[in-house]
């Protein structure tokens, strides 16, 4: 079976059906057994403006990163697609509308920008759409049809996938989509002379027996939260986290839970802490600016030892920043934001799969360690669509991780009892004998405010100590490659880890002695494993999407050595190619 690894981008304006056609393509190719990593970017504005890009990497091998270069660009809008051409491979392909209603000026037509070596297939998208559906709406489906015909995708099966996508819509919608697809398919079959060598035709993988779910990071988080017994979701909409709220608002009530759209982010985290205090699993999701607002009140969960799960999907900052662009620059605020010494658990999934597992883990840890657990996603991970093995919901014993007081303890109940592991058994309000004071003020074991010279040190130490237990419950850092005498060790976190992993695998194929480590848990910090990795490597590289190297700065004091950095703030996910280039540079 020939290797297939093709990146397709559909680029249009908001309202062109760019994202929906990308979704259909990804889902269909996934159903055909291909590995998928897709990523949509879209404007923060509403329909009628702005550029949308549906990016899909489709492969019959395992894929770990979205792919830097596009092989096939479908232009639904000339101006936007022209601005996307810089990502097209030198031998890439452009599918574009060669019969727009009017002649375009030289700089407005994508054909005017195509470099020699690239191949363009002009398809009368608008004409065929009008013929098939009586409107311009079906241009995206015409393009998909042409794509299928040119690149050896089964047209009949794809039609069924389109049917399934619109099954809940009325017949007119279904028919116009299917007919538009069929028009594009037939036209391309009859008129396009294929002069490129890309094809999916000869390389269809064997369908896997595993049940696959095709979801993005936000969907994985929402699903995991619901599967983890989420009772209350409170939130205020913000890109790129809004989707979590949308899903929860639809699905949570069906499970008897409650979704509250609050007046702002402060209120949202207040609701979560309130529900947590009352013994219910609760969560909020936000992004940079909202996270800043929450950071003060979120500290109450730390001080009052209340379980709270807070998802922060990072975007470009500071301030309103770049709402629809990617960045990993909220690490500092996630780890250290807030007043005082404020220990919290921070988890950063590196893949869509881990978005699910980290969320279930977050609820478990928040409840057991009675504290704030922050899940750090980012724009890419939130929107990155993968076909993953259907996640296994948490087992019953994971759905309640609260360490409850014994009957004896309730006789003289000390809510903040100093224990060996720092966890004070927690009586849910209403538990007979469990009456206590909970406060954001420093407090005694009974919860009474205390500012004496002994209480604060003891309680501070307790709060730091208790979360150390989370280290043994979180996945161990992943180490790929040799265990000693490594020339270059790459340590990555969050969504950058996939690209770093792929870059390391490719660098190893080139004969470079390089290894890879990533960690999901960032606080408490897995010092032991990362130190061991560092000791095995002559040089350490940390690639990340922020200007100052926030993760490298966290590592530095633990490793007491110099760390080389690859920091990017382009708003785009870091690519395996970027990291590989840096590794090659270091190896030279």
């Amino acid at each position: 079976m020939a290797d297939v690894d093709i990146v397709i981008e559909i680029c249009g304006s908001a309202g062109d059906g760019t994202i929906s056609s990308g979704e259909i393509l990804s889902r269909f190719m996934s159903s055909q057994g291909f590995e998928i990593m897709s990523f949509d970017s879209y404007p923060s504005e509403i329909r009628g403006f702005g550029k949308c890009v549906a990016h899909s990497r489709i492969s019959n091998k395992k894929v770990l990163s979205p792919g830097k270069y596009t092989d096939i660009l479908i232009a639904l809008n000339n101006a936007h697609a022209i601005s996307q051409l810089h990502t097209l491979r030198e031998t890439g392909i452009v599918i574009f509308d060669n019969k727009p209603p009017n002649y375009l000026e030289e700089d407005q037509s994508i054909a005017g920008w195509i470099e020699p070596g690239m191949i363009s297939y002009g398809i009368p998208l608008l004409n065929l759409s009008q013929k098939a559906s009586g409107s311009a709406r079906g241009r995206n489906m015409v393009a998909l049809g042409a794509l299928a015909a040119i690149f050896g995708i089964d047209g009949e099966q794809m039609k069924s996938a389109i049917h399934a996508r619109y099954a809940k819509k009325n017949k007119v919608v279904i028919d116009s989509n299917i007919n538009s697809f069929a028009e594009g398919f037939t036209w391309a079959q009859q008129h396009v002379t294929k002069v490129d060598s890309y094809t999916f035709g000869h390389s269809k993988p064997k369908p896997s027996k595993e049940k696959k779910a095709i979801i993005n990071g936000n969907q994985a988080v929402a699903q995991a939260a619901i599967d983890s017994g989420l009772h209350l979701y409170a939130g205020y909409p913000i890109t790129p986290a809004t989707k979590i709220m949308e899903i929860v608002s639809r699905e949570l009530p069906k499970k008897g839970g409650v979704m509250v759209q609050t007046e702002d982010e402060i209120s949202a985290i207040g609701h979560v802490i309130g529900a947590g205090y009352a013994g219910k699993r609760a969560m909020t999701a936000t992004s940079g600016p909202g996270f800043c607002l929450m950071s003060e009140l979120a500290n109450l969960a730390v001080m009052a030892e209340v379980p709270a799960v807070l998802v922060n999907s990072q975007r470009g900052g500071p301030s309103t920043g770049l709402p629809t662009r990617n960045e990993q620059s909220d690490l500092n605020i996630a780890l250290f934001g807030g007043s005082g010494d404020s220990p919290r658990i921070v988890l950063a999934p590196t893949s869509v799969n881990e978005c699910y597992t980290c969320t279930t883990l977050a609820f478990y840890l928040a409840e057991k360690y009675q504290t704030l657990v922050i899940i750090l996603l980012d724009f890419f991970l939130s929107n990155s669509i993968r076909n993953i093995t259907t996640p296994v919901p948490p087992k019953a014993n994971q759905l309640n991780s609260n360490v409850a007081p014994t009957k004896t303890a309730l006789k003289d109940y000390k809510r903040y009892k100093l224990t060996k592991n720092g966890i004070s058994p927690r009586a849910i309000p209403g538990t007979p004998g469990g009456m206590c004071i909970s406060t954001g003020l420093e407090h005694s074991e009974h919860g009474h405010p205390r500012y004496d010279r002994n209480t604060h040190p003891a309680m501070t130490e307790k709060r730091f100590n208790k979360i150390q237990g989370a280290l043994s419950e979180a996945p161990k850092p992943r180490w790929v490659g040799p265990k000693k005498n490594v020339d270059i060790g790459v340590i990555a976190w969050g969504s950058t880890a996939g690209s770093a992993h792929e870059a390391v695998l490719n660098a190893r194929k080139e004969g470079i002695n390089v290894a890879f480590m990533s960690t999901v848990i960032l606080s408490p910090f897995p010092v032991k494993e990362i130190k061991k990795f560092s000791e095995a490597c002559s040089r350490i590289l940390v690639p990340e999407l922020n200007y100052t190297g926030q993760f490298a700065n966290v590592l530095s004091p633990h490793l007491s050595r110099s760390i080389e950095r690859l920091n990017m703030v382009t708003g785009l996910p870091i690519s395996a190619e970027d990291i590989l280039e840096k590794i090659r540079d270091m190896a030279r």
């Binding site: 030289e106 054909a111 020699p116 002009g122 002069v195």
Partner: protein, 339 residues
């Protein structure tokens, strides 16, 4: 700031490329653009027979890499067809609905397959090989076909036969010796050619004509005036080239068989010149027009056209004749290079 000059060349053959090079060599600032409807780089047309036979790859066809255009700052637009020229407004209308303005224009669109009037009704069943676009379509068909009929009336047809023999295909060759292109066959040349072909196991028949050509289930049945029947998987037609000017007719630019130009390669519009296989060039001595043919002529004319557009006044002359070997027979060709 004044707007930059835009020198546009339609055609990516030897004429178009040497025009572009000459523009760039003599004007560092102007925009220079080549537009070609073939989605492939500047290539050696004479190598197409070996290419479709699978004996050489795409890289062997290329005259030069794309990087040359980048280095010279020449914009190369491939796979884009000019549908119409408006010489008054100085605008080209491209098939994919784009308008391209120019200040100076060189027409270098070469030739297209010649189809004899007696064959026009069978055109849809015939395969040609004048450029990359039709060669790439033909290639898989040739690979698949076991038996191929060739209507041969030009030098290219012999090159294809040579290439097909390496593939061990069964070939029927119907030899149009009377209207041979680009040379006239004299004396008993055609009989000798046929005899030599037969020696090489090719069924060759001189001066028969096609009466009917039908297709059924991908099998073509060809009946000739003399009553012969040929059944084959493919029928290829090679009867020479005619200037490719269909898209120019009606634009106001004077044409006859080709684009009419004076001895300086200038058309009836001062900023439009034509050169290479598409041009019909006036010779003041002959007081008549001649049609350009052949690779080297085209290259030479492209350069002269560009230089003259920039202010020179060089007169074009055809290159000397050369001798070519066709299945063992020496033929004097008109400007047809022997590679």
């Amino acid at each position: 700031m004044p707007k930059k000059d835009h020198y546009v060349i339609i055609g990516n053959g030897p004429a178009g490329n040497s025009a572009a090079d000459a523009f760039r060599a003599n004007d560092k600032d102007a925009r220079v653009t080549i537009i070609s409807d073939e989605a492939f780089s500047f290539f050696y047309r004479h190598k197409l027979p070996q290419f479709v036979a699978g004996n050489i790859g795409e890289d062997d066809l290329k005259v030069r890499p794309y990087s040359v255009y980048k280095e010279q700052n020449i914009r190369l637009r491939l796979g884009q067809c000019v549908d119409r020229i408006d010489p008054e407004e100085k605008i080209l209308y491209l098939r994919h609905m784009e308008k391209v303005g120019y200040t100076k224009l060189v027409i270098a669109t070469g030739g297209s397959p010649r189809i004899l009037p007696s064959l026009t009704s069978f055109e849809k069943h015939l395969r040609f090989m004048t450029g990359y676009n039709n060669a790439i379509k033909l290639m898989p068909e040739i690979q698949k076909a076991k038996t191929i009929t060739i209507l041969g009336g030009d030098l290219i047809s012999f090159e294809l036969v040579k290439a097909l023999r390496t593939m061990k295909k069964k070939i029927f060759f119907i030899f149009y010796s009377k209207c041979f292109w680009p040379v006239e066959l004299t004396g008993n040349m055609s009989a000798k050619i046929c005899a030599n072909m037969k020696k090489k196991n090719i069924e060759a028949y001189a001066d028969d004509t096609v009466e009917t050509l039908t297709e059924k289930g991908n099998l073509y049945t060809l009946k000739t005036a003399s009553g012969r029947t040929f059944k084959s998987d493919l029928v290829c037609c090679f009867l020479g080239l005619v200037p490719n000017i269909g898209y120019i007719i009606g634009s106001g630019i004077d044409t006859e068989r080709g684009v009419l130009v004076n001895e300086f390669m200038q058309t009836n519009y001062k900023d439009i010149y034509a050169c290479g296989d598409c041009a019909q060039i006036y010779d003041p001595k002959l007081k008549d027009y001649w049609i350009s043919i052949g690779w080297s002529n085209a290259g030479l004319q492209g350069k002269i056209a560009a230089m003259n557009l920039l202010g020179s006044s060089k007169v074009v002359k055809p290159l000397p004749k050369s001798i070519r070997d066709v299945v063992g027979i020496k033929i004097q060709t008109s400007w047809w290079d022997h590679f």
